[in-house]
């Protein structure tokens, strides 16, 4: 119980004391998470769209695979990326192990299946409704993908946020490929793991509260962007 109250007190001190180390960690975490999500979207949005509108042999198997990969254990991904990026691994010469770049790659591998699978589901539902109309307008399947992605942007944004949540919450992969190096690859989650290891449970909990607060702020911001870009939801409500 006292740990809980101390946790909230610690979170308060951390955030409003503008602790330089903490802000460094927050900024690095956001950068890594953001880069990983952008990379995942570059792959996952078109791939999910393609899986939704194209029909080919083995499509179902690919969908099942992508859905299954949503549950990839971060530790396994971390280990695989470590082995690949290690100096003795195939991409060792890139020399990006234990850097933020390695963490971005590991998280992108975790997030891409989420973005892909959720996008596929969203776009496939839309495609059922839009297929005849878009075909009538002369839109090819390929040309339809960006149209559908934009039309499903509310749901797609939710899929992206789900991916961001996965990236922000995971510790297993980044701690292996990043090394939790102070001032270099220490993120919110690896710092929480470290402080838990030090027995500083209140501080660890405080960091956790900061992390949750950031997640709430980010989602609130996304929500406001959505409201602003799509006033029709409000208008429809007014019409009814």
């Amino acid at each position: 119980m006292s740990n809980l109250t101390e946790g909230f007190a610690a979170a308060f001190r951390l955030l409003f004391g503008f602790d330089a180390d903490l802000w460094e960690i927050i900024i690095l975490s956001l950068e890594v998470n953001f880069a990983a999500v952008v990379l995942s979207c570059l792959i996952g949005l078109p791939l999910g769209g393609a899986l939704a509108v194209y029909r080919f042999r083995g499509r179902k198997a690919v969908i099942v695979l992508v859905n299954a990969l949503m549950g990839l254990p971060p530790v396994v991904v971390g280990l695989l990326v470590y082995l690949v990026l290690s100096r003795s691994g195939p991409l060792g010469s890139l020399n990006i192990l234990f850097t933020p770049g390695a963490m971005v790659i590991a998280q992108a591998i975790l997030v891409t299946p989420i973005v892909t699978a959720l996008t596929r589901q969203i776009i496939e539902n839309l495609w059922q409704d839009y297929r005849e109309q878009l075909t009538s307008l002369g839109s090819s399947r390929r040309r339809a993908i960006p149209t559908l992605l934009w039309d499903g942007r509310t749901a797609v944004l939710t899929a992206i946020l789900a991916g961001f949540g996965r990236a922000a919450a995971e510790v297993g992969a980044v701690i292996i490929v990043g090394g939790n190096i102070a001032h270099h690859t220490r993120t919110m989650t690896t710092a929480i793991a470290l402080e838990t290891g030090r027995g500083n449970l209140a501080l660890a909990l405080g960091l956790g509260i900061v992390l949750v607060t950031l997640a709430i702020l980010l989602n609130a911001a996304a929500w406001m962007v959505r409201e602003r870009s799509m006033p029709e939801t409000a208008l429809i409500a007014a019409n009814r």
Binding site: D129, Y130, E132, L137, T147, G152, E232
Partner: protein, 240 residues
């Protein structure tokens, strides 16, 4: 309208089965230039399917759709279709039309100009910035007509365009159909509404359980039905 005509349209021996049911059964049909052809029949006769096959949205099991001279793809660009339930993109009224025009390879500025003209054409000129889905049912269907018209089609497929509308909205849609004919466009209209068929049809095809029982000039068929089915339908006694 200066481009070479894609008409007449000939449907040759079109058959289509779906879920074990014969939807269309050896249909032959000829559509002439600058006339409004009404495909008349009770619900479930296969009217929508016939229009979609002619428009190239559905591949028939057997038979051929022949456009005069031009191969299918080139002919498709000169057609447009309005569906019973309008499928509008989740964006502004104007953007819906711009999207459709841009699919024809028209530059953005020109597409915007054309979209404004199209909105004036259907009387939605002051609704350009409204989200499409905040419009009433009748306005949405008028937007569908504006979108079809903006593509400057020679042939329009109109699939029960007033079936889900109230009388006032239906009336405004009928005015648009009359105007389309005055411009020299060819419409193929499916309906089960006898009164509407009488008002709009130049030619008539009577469809019953997937078979074209009668075809010819509307005047003649209304005056002198050859089959008991059409006779019953004209008396309001045939419901399926």
């Amino acid at each position: 309208m200066e481009a070479p005509s894609i008409l007449p349209l000939a449907l040759e021996n079109i058959s289509l089965r779906h879920d074990g049911q014969q939807i269309l059964d050896r249909i032959n049909m000829l559509v002439a230039r600058r006339r409004t052809t009404v495909v008349l029949g009770p619900n479930g006769a296969g009217k929508s399917m016939l229009l979609k096959v002619a428009h190239g949205l559905i591949e028939p099991d057997s038979g051929a759709v022949r456009w005069s001279g031009l191969p299918g793809a080139a002919a498709h660009a000169r057609q447009a279709m309005v569906f019973q339930k309008p499928v509008l993109l989740n964006r502004s009224v104007l953007a819906n039309i711009v999207h459709a025009v841009r699919l024809q390879g028209v530059a953005r500025a020109k597409a915007v100009h054309r979209a404004h003209t199209a909105l004036d054409y259907v009387g939605l000129g002051d609704m350009a910035v409204r989200p499409a889905r905040s419009l009433s049912g009748g306005e949405q269907q008028r937007l569908s007509f504006a979108r079809a018209w903006a593509r400057d089609p020679e042939v329009l497929f109109l699939d029960e365009p007033t079936a889900s509308l109230d009388p006032a909205a239906s009336w405004s849609i009928e005015q648009i159909i009359v105007e389309l004919r005055r411009e020299g466009r060819t419409a193929i209209l499916s309906t089960h509404d006898l009164a509407m068929a009488r008002r709009l049809a130049d030619d008539l095809v009577f469809l019953h359980r997937g078979r074209a029982l009668e075809a010819g000039s509307a005047e003649q068929l209304f005056a002198d039905p050859k089959t008991p089915e059409l006779a019953a339908f004209l008396k309001g006694e045939l419901h399926w």
